[in-house]
């Protein structure tokens, strides 16, 4: 099986400081990988380098495209990378307002991505938007409301609907459940897990919440000061951490 994504020797520096360095891994179709670490450890930098939002200083991000097979997305032309960002890739921001158009209706937010890949029939687009609102448990009566009238949890779910409507194969998520209260978090986790299984998505999730990765991620990568200090099967890394930093991280979690 060809990996969906191969990350080779990714490095990003901010002047003399290291954003992230020497990151290598393969992600296979259907796999969910978590990236954990304290704030400033370089996990968001890495995610943005992989998703094409930041240009890495070194390394390759090879994606298995539908048409041409594995292609290095770092050296790809900007229009090609943008096309990928609208079709096979999705990016769920930590703050929903970064990923939504706040002054456009909920239906319009979902429809925009469909129009970007060539859908033109307004009725079809609206039907698909309503279908996706249902999937993320937003009442269809809200389709014409603007996201600014939505609660934080609803905005986050709308952002997920907007991202998944075009059937991407790889989803990047930056703290998807951060800042949400626990009951909304649980709903979102359930939703994400169902979508991952039904659509066969692969996902890379950056978070600092170990409970979230245990439930969502198959694999885990632990970062500190821009370096990957430990990687492996999620429950192995959490139950039997090998590196000093991971041991500290796991033993610092408050038990509920």
């Amino acid at each position: 099986m060809t990996p969906l994504l191969q990350v080779k020797g990714i490095e990003k520096r901010y002047g003399a400081r290291i954003g992230c360095t020497d990151v290598n891994f393969d992600l296979y179709p259907g796999e969910v990988m978590g990236i954990v670490g304290e704030s400033g450890s370089g996990k968001s930098t890495l995610l943005n380098c992989m998703a094409g939002h930041l240009e890495p200083d070194a390394g390759q991000v090879i994606f298995d495209t539908r048409v041409d097979g594995p292609v290095d997305t770092v050296t790809m032309s900007e229009p090609e990378r943008r096309m990928l960002g609208r079709t096979d890739w999705a990016f769920v921001h930590q703050h929903a307002r970064d990923g939504l158009r706040m002054s456009v209706s909920a239906g319009g937010n979902i429809g925009e991505r469909l129009m970007a890949v060539g859908d033109r029939h307004y009725g079809d687009i609206r039907d698909k938007a309503i279908d996706w609102l249902g999937r993320v448990e937003i009442d269809e009566a809200r389709v014409d409301d603007r996201p600014s009238a939505f609660s934080g949890g609803m905005q986050q779910r709308l952002q997920i609907a907007r991202n998944l409507v075009t059937g991407p194969r790889l989803v990047f998520m930056d703290e998807p459940t951060g800042g949400l209260d626990v009951s909304v978090q649980a709903r979102l986790l359930d939703l994400l897990r169902g979508l991952v299984r039904e659509m066969g998505l692969s996902a890379i999730i950056v978070t600092h919440d170990l409970a979230v990765v245990r439930l969502l991620a198959d694999r885990l990568m632990v970062m500190k000061n821009g370096h990957v200090v430990e990687a492996g099967l999620t429950d192995q890394v959490l139950d039997d951490p090998q590196h000093a930093y991971t041991q500290l991280l796991v033993s610092s979690v408050l038990q509920v």
Binding site: R187, D239, D240, A244
Partner: protein
């Protein structure tokens, strides 16, 4: 089906002065298809550790841990994930689920993961829940709010949903009443009958004598404890 060859395990506590605690040395055992092996030994001897080494959530320091031809001690995460999906089941003592997911879906999930169709998976899940006396009106609720015994039975139903060729059972009859205990023991016997290799921890002596073919004393593998 399950074979351990000279496995050792130690913990290094980096944040407590780098103490290295050896917990297992020279562990070897073999479970053939249709065979059930009981791990024995006093509390702290390393029974659960051994189970976790087989399941892959503890990393073996040396030796081979072969399950269905895959060496868990050295396999890639992806290989272990597919092994757990298709071949190796684990009934732990605690149920860990996503909140809000209905009990029936929790039990059907392992079947859906191996590509069983929705209806068949739910049908089998319903049958198991019925056998384990989980009332039907609870099936649409999340098991997170259930009593300890009910959670344990949901956990068992989930563990036995897919016919794994290899299974790990951590005290499957603990905290169960006589009738449910009987059901669990027959589930184990049925699993053996269809050829599953089982390694388990049974504190319940009667249960152990009834379903287990052999005992392996884990104290023999405990450094400093072996006679």
């Amino acid at each position: 089906m399950i074979e351990l060859i000279d496995v050792s395990k130690s913990f290094t506590l980096h944040n407590q002065g780098g103490v290295v605690i050896p917990v297992m040395e020279g562990a070897s055992l073999k479970a053939e298809p249709g065979e059930c092996i009981a791990l024995t030994g006093s509390s702290g001897a390393g029974k659960s550790t051994l189970m976790r080494v087989i399941y892959g959530n503890y990393l073996a320091a040396s030796g081979q841990v072969l399950v269905g031809g895959v060496d868990v001690a050295k396999a890639e995460p992806r290989q272990i994930l597919s092994l757990r999906r298709d071949t190796l089941g684990y009934v732990s003592q605690f149920l860990r689920v996503v909140p809000r997911v209905p009990t029936l879906d929790v039990v059907a999930e392992p079947l859906l993961a191996v590509g069983c169709d929705n209806e068949a998976a739910r049908g089998k899940a319903a049958g198991l829940l019925e056998r384990l006396n989980i009332r039907e009106r609870l099936w649409t609720l999340s098991p997170t709010t259930f009593s300890g015994g009910e959670q344990q039975r949901v956990n068992i139903a989930r563990g036995f949903a897919h016919d794994y060729p290899a299974m790990l059972l951590d005290e499957p009859t603990a905290s169960l009443d006589a009738q449910n205990r009987e059901t669990v023991l027959s589930l184990i016997e049925e699993a053996k009958h269809r050829g599953a290799a089982i390694v388990g921890i049974f504190h319940d002596l009667e249960a152990r004598e009834r379903v287990c073919d052999r005992e392996v004393n884990v104290s023999d593998f405990t450094p400093g404890l072996a006679a």
